[in-house]
């Protein structure tokens, strides 16, 4: 859990200044927070709420509405599996199934217990012509096969 240390307070202040300087809104404020911390720490919401005199509920309303926001830290490796139509008909389900089995992800969980991996499913990354698409740590893999995927995942594990 994030503590509001002086260092973190400086970071939050910085975000707040940008927000007022550029006439931003709650969404851009939260996007910046997530950029800095990797997720939206609960305490940062309380902090912003007091500073801006906007009820916490409005923040939570926005956070829970948009798929982009996370309240918990993500894994060190981020695997994004595209579930768009083109990827679906070209077998993205099978890829996702095998990632889940390989990483031993518990049902309904996105991040592995050791915090190494997060598997995130997204609606469409818009690279449908090279479906199925899997993005591992921002590197886009097109026409992904289970063989290649397993090699990538196992390669990651060896590196550690």
């Amino acid at each position: 859990m994030l503590e509001i240390s002086t260092d973190n307070e400086l970071k939050l202040n910085d975000i707040l200044n940008r927000y007022t300087a550029e006439e931003g809104n709650i969404i851009s404020l939260l996007q910046d927070t997530q950029d800095v911390f990797g997720y939206i720490p609960e305490k940062s919401v309380g902090w912003f709420s007091k500073k801006l005199d906007i009820p916490e509920s409005r923040f939570y309303g926005v956070i829970t509405f948009y798929a982009q926001f996370h309240m918990h830290p993500r894994g060190r490796n981020l695997i994004t599996a595209c579930c768009g139509t083109a990827c679906h008909v070209r077998g993205s389900d099978r890829l996702i199934n095998s990632i889940q089995t390989e990483l031993k992800l518990p049902e309904g969980k996105e991040t592995t217990e050791d915090g190494e991996y997060t598997l995130e499913k997204v609606a469409c990354v818009g690279a449908c012509s090279i479906a199925p698409v899997v993005i591992i740590n921002k590197k886009v893999f097109g026409e992904m096969t289970i063989n290649r995927l397993m090699k990538e995942l196992k390669g990651k594990k060896v590196e550690e």
């Binding site: 709650i26 139509t85 008909v89 199934n97 449908c128 397993m150």
Partner: protein
């Protein structure tokens, strides 16, 4: 060098070219003969990375280029002047392009999207100049109205009329918003246009702003498109630098600037009123219309919201005239439309064709037909709001009216080809999973209705369907369509209705025989190894994460049904396919 080309290794290939060329010591001639620049997407993504080599004005295009191939291309082609015939694009590359008519995409893939000069060189910003210096807003709107341009985001409303209504609404402040929240799974037209030619969109917005009297613009773009956002940011900065944005543009008295707003991952924000709520920093939930945004939109002010492709058409219409634009397409659907052709077709990619082109030509002549000798089953258009067009209707023309007649829509332009290995019930369920998850929850028919639809579809795919389920689906679908608040709910049942309409027999097979004819639905299939055919290569065993496959080398393997999670990994690597 769009997202697709990057994934296929575009950057690596470019690096390799730079390296090889400098190593070969022909730096001077490189500058002169082949200016290497990044271009946006040029459509045929299936053959990425595509590289053009121009020697003495003669252009040669290479396909599937890998960094390892660059050395030979440089040595044989650039130095000796002999193109490498083995790697050149074949007939199909040209047939893919020959049938197309490019307006919006005419400059995508030829200009460097990161340089404003590159856009100037093909006549960029001339349309804006013409409008700002010699046309009144009313005259501009007239041209757009005459061209017959209809919104490319899905609904197909006349762009000129929309602008006119907003023009005639009196207010001190007005806004123009570019909707780049391309949320339809299976569609990437808008991403490619912004990645390939961001200035065309900006120019379209300047003309729109002048016509309606707006001084502020927003581009609402998905955060999932990092490359498009980056190129747009660059383009905006360049346009500001040349006074195409800012105060008193071209000394015409027009003040106009554009801000980028990043979407936060909500499909419903493609709906106008939800998009406005999101820009205002609230939950992106739609509200009842009227009042329409042209009367009361962003912060209660008159607002025009246009799709990326619509705006990118504007400069070309102004430059070449309304009659020129109206010469393409059908009587009611003018111009061209960009489609993202994907799925089970040979040439996947981005295409632009005149409205009204027969679907058959798109799938077979441009798309090159289905892969691996499979048979075409249907073409899904319009994403989660659209429907499936069965192969029997392949002769229909693709325009707003014709597609509506068969229960589908043009939508934003996603076109997913399905073959005999696709289960139509599963496809319907796929879309419902999506719309159900993306339903904002404000109105009951959509929130609860889509949930119930999904439950019924799920039980059908699990082999637990009941007699009467099909009728129940139809009944519920009609109610949801009639009573939902916004476009999301009103169109969400379309994939269900259209698959029932054309593939009722597949639903019946699932319900009555617990059988999935396409062998897709997990609960209705079982994986086993045919001992007669298994050569014991071990390929399947290696990919099996659940360790369900056992067997000795060179002897038939077997799958333990109780351990198997039916992920299908083994089926995908299976090399001795017998059908």
């Amino acid at each position: 060098m769009g997202t697709g080309g990057m994934a296929a290794g575009g950057s690596e290939v470019m690096e390799a070219f730079n390296r090889e060329i400098s190593e070969a010591g022909i730096e001077a001639s490189v500058e002169k003969f082949c200016s290497m620049h990044k271009v946006g997407c040029r459509g045929l993504c299936a053959k990425d990375v595509l590289v053009d080599v121009i020697v003495g004005g003669k252009k040669t295009t290479y396909q599937y280029t890998k960094p390892g191939m660059v050395s030979r291309i440089v040595k044989e082609h650039l130095i000796k002047g002999e193109p490498v015939a083995d790697w050149m694009v074949g007939e199909d590359y040209y047939s893919f392009h020959d049938k197309q008519t490019k307006v919006v995409l005419s400059d995508c893939g030829n200009i460097d999207p990161e340089k404003i000069e590159s856009y100037f060189a093909v006549g960029g910003y001339e349309a804006a100049k013409k409008v700002l210096t010699s046309l009144s807003p009313e005259q501009t709107i007239d041209i757009i109205k005459k061209s017959g341009l209809r919104g490319r985001g899905g609904a197909g409303f006349s762009t000129g009329t929309k602008w006119e209504i907003c023009r005639n609404t009196k207010a001190a402040q007005k806004y123009i918003i570019c909707n780049a929240d391309e949320g339809d799974p299976g569609a990437f037209m808008d991403r490619s246009v912004i990645e390939g030619n961001p200035h065309a969109v900006i120019e379209g917005m300047i003309i729109g702003a002048y016509s309606i009297g707006a001084t502020k613009g927003y581009v609402y773009i998905r955060a999932e498109y990092p490359l498009a956002v980056e190129r747009l940011r660059m383009a905006l900065a360049q346009a500001r630098g040349k006074n195409w944005l800012g105060k008193n543009i071209l000394r015409s008295g027009l003040d106009f600037d554009i801000k980028i707003k990043l979407g936060a991952g909500a499909f419903v924000c493609g709906e106008e009123t939800a998009l406005i709520a999101s820009i205002e920093g609230q939950r992106g939930m739609p509200r009842a219309k009227p009042p329409f945004p042209v009367h009361s939109g962003l912060w209660g002010k008159p607002t025009v919201i246009n799709n990326v492709e619509t705006l990118a058409n504007i400069p070309y219409i102004i430059r070449k005239g309304a009659d020129w634009f109206a010469s393409f397409g059908t009587e009611k659907s003018k111009g061209t439309k960009v489609f993202a052709l994907t799925g089970k077709v040979k040439n996947t990619g981005l295409i632009e064709v005149p409205m009204g082109m027969p679907l058959k030509e798109i799938v077979y002549d441009i798309g090159g037909g289905t892969n691996k000798g499979r048979t075409l089953k249907a073409v899904q258009t319009g994403g989660p709001s659209g429907g499936c067009i069965p192969s029997e209707l392949i002769d229909i023309n693709v325009d707003f009216e014709s597609l509506a007649k068969v229960g589908s829509i043009v939508g934003s332009g996603g076109m997913v080809v399905l073959d005999n290995t696709d289960c139509m019930v599963n496809i319907a369920k796929f879309f419902l999973e999506f719309t159900q998850a993306e339903s904002c929850g404000k109105c009951v028919p959509c929130r609860v209705g889509t949930k119930r639809l999904l439950e019924i579809l799920s039980r059908i795919t699990q082999g637990k369907g009941k007699e009467g389920d099909i009728e129940l689906l139809e009944d519920l679908s009609h109610d949801i369509k009639a009573s939902s608040l916004c476009g999301l709910g009103q169109t969400a049942p379309n994939p269900v209705l259209s698959t029932i309409r054309y593939f009722r027999n597949e639903y019946e097979a699932h319900i009555k025989e617990s059988r999935c004819p396409a062998a897709v639905c997990k609960d209705l299939i079982e994986y086993s190894i045919l001992a007669d055919f298994c050569k014991g290569c071990g390929a399947c065993m290696r990919v099996c994460s659940s360790k369900a496959i056992t067997g000795e080398k060179k002897k038939p393997h077997s799958i333990a049904a109780d351990v198997c999670v039916k992920c299908g990994a083994c089926y995908d690597v299976w090399v001795f396919k017998i059908w």
